[in-house]
């Protein structure tokens, strides 16, 4: 209960900051290049960078990206569920739709899934993600992101027969999906604040409880 109240206060403080006069001066900035747009719409303009951090229940994440030419953006990302399922990844994003107020991006991620606890496992993973974001007015940007992640879980089998022991490796797939819907707010020309809700699907058949998070986005040109 205290945790939820704390998050609500942080959100209200952020929303209040958006309406502050110093923030209104940020409205003159070129909104399509705002870090929140780069993070949630996906991709960065050539030579600019953007980063983001999110904290919530159960998901936390850190993301950092750098824009190349022709719509390509490499990035690194670490996401975690309660620090028990950790997914470090590197990725490459390509902006499919790149309009001043609308952006749609496809991403491919390669990484590792490491889960601790009683259901511990780990394995290499690949994920595909589609992001979409659009400006509503000059300070608010709804966004969505949908990810499908496929992890290879490798086991070693030792077969002891009368003639000796043979070992072999077997691999089984694991599928996780995550849908996120949220809204981002402009705090300053280089900083954004967002609130999002997650709809996860864990290990293929398990529909888990939705999550919620607050995030900060920031960026600029080096």
């Amino acid at each position: 209960m205290h945790r939820c109240t704390g998050r609500l206060l942080v959100f209200l403080a952020g929303a209040g900051f958006v309406l502050h006069p110093t923030v209104r001066a940020a409205e003159g900035a070129s909104l399509p290049e705002h870090p929140a747009f780069d993070m949630h719409g996906g991709g960065s303009k050539p030579g600019s960078w953007a980063g983001g951090m999110q904290a919530g229940f159960p998901w936390q994440a850190v993301h950092l990206q750098y824009g190349l030419e022709d719509g390509w953006t490499p990035f690194v990302e670490v996401s975690s569920a309660l620090l028990q399922r950790n997914e470090p990844s590197i990725g490459l994003a390509l902006r499919w739709v790149d309009r001043p107020r609308v952006r749609v991006t496809g991403e491919v991620l390669l990484g590792w899934q490491v889960q601790t606890g009683v259901l511990a496992h780990s394995g290499p993973s690949m994920a595909l993600r589609v992001r979409a974001a659009a400006w509503v007015g000059r300070r608010i940007m709804p966004y969505t992101a949908w990810t499908t992640r496929h992890t290879l879980l490798i086991d070693r089998t030792a077969l002891e027969t009368a003639s000796g022991t043979e070992t072999s490796l077997t691999a089984g797939p694991r599928w996780d999906a995550l849908g996120v819907v949220g809204v981002a707010f402009v705090l300053s020309p280089r900083v954004g604040l967002e609130l999002g809700v997650e709809y996860p699907r864990t290990d293929g058949s398990t529909v888990t409880l939705p999550g919620v998070h607050l995030g900060l986005q920031f960026g600029g040109r080096p």
């Binding site: 394995g123 086991d155 070693r156 009368a162």
Partner: protein
């Protein structure tokens, strides 16, 4: 893709290739578990008591004699099941999971009416039998299993 993007991605690819030699060293460092299997050749015969029909499939079920530790310890942890067409001789290769428990118990019952259920209500009386393999583990097991207990599940016969 522009030449600058290609250059950045290309140099990254070169660096990645420099580390490819490390992949074999990783081996199974990312393995989740080691599954230990002890292969057992089961040979023997399953017979019903005299006077019972010679036909009808026999369901053979294999169990660990005991499994779990402490308060979770229990007998008869199921391993696998197979069928033989009629009572008589059989052979079967069992991949025994050593981490699942200890010992080996073989249970069989004859499905005289072919309904897949041991002694369903209102149907025929069906015979069952059980034998514990001792000593175990061994790779070659010879057994003679007599089905002489009417409508008995494995838990009714083991532990003896």
């Amino acid at each position: 893709m522009s030449s600058r993007s290609r250059a950045v991605l290309g140099s990254t690819g070169v660096r990645a290739r420099q580390w490819l030699w490390a992949l074999p060293l990783l081996g199974c460092s990312g393995c989740n578990q080691t599954i230990e299997i002890y292969q057992v050749e089961l040979n023997g015969a399953v017979q019903a008591t005299a006077g019972s029909p010679a036909t009808g499939p026999v369901s053979v079920e294999l169990f660990h004699a005991s499994s779990g530790e402490g308060e979770l310890a229990h007998p008869l942890e199921f391993i696998e099941q197979f069928q033989i067409e009629t009572p008589g001789e059989f052979n079967h290769t069992l991949n025994y999971p050593t981490t699942g428990g200890d010992g080996l118990v073989i249970y069989a019952w004859q499905d005289r009416d072919g309904d897949g259920v041991l002694c369903a209500l209102g149907r025929e009386v069906e015979l069952a039998g059980l034998v514990e393999v001792t000593p175990f583990p061994v790779h070659e097991v010879e057994i003679d299993l007599l089905m002489d207990q009417p409508c008995a599940g494995p838990e009714a016969m083991f532990p003896p």
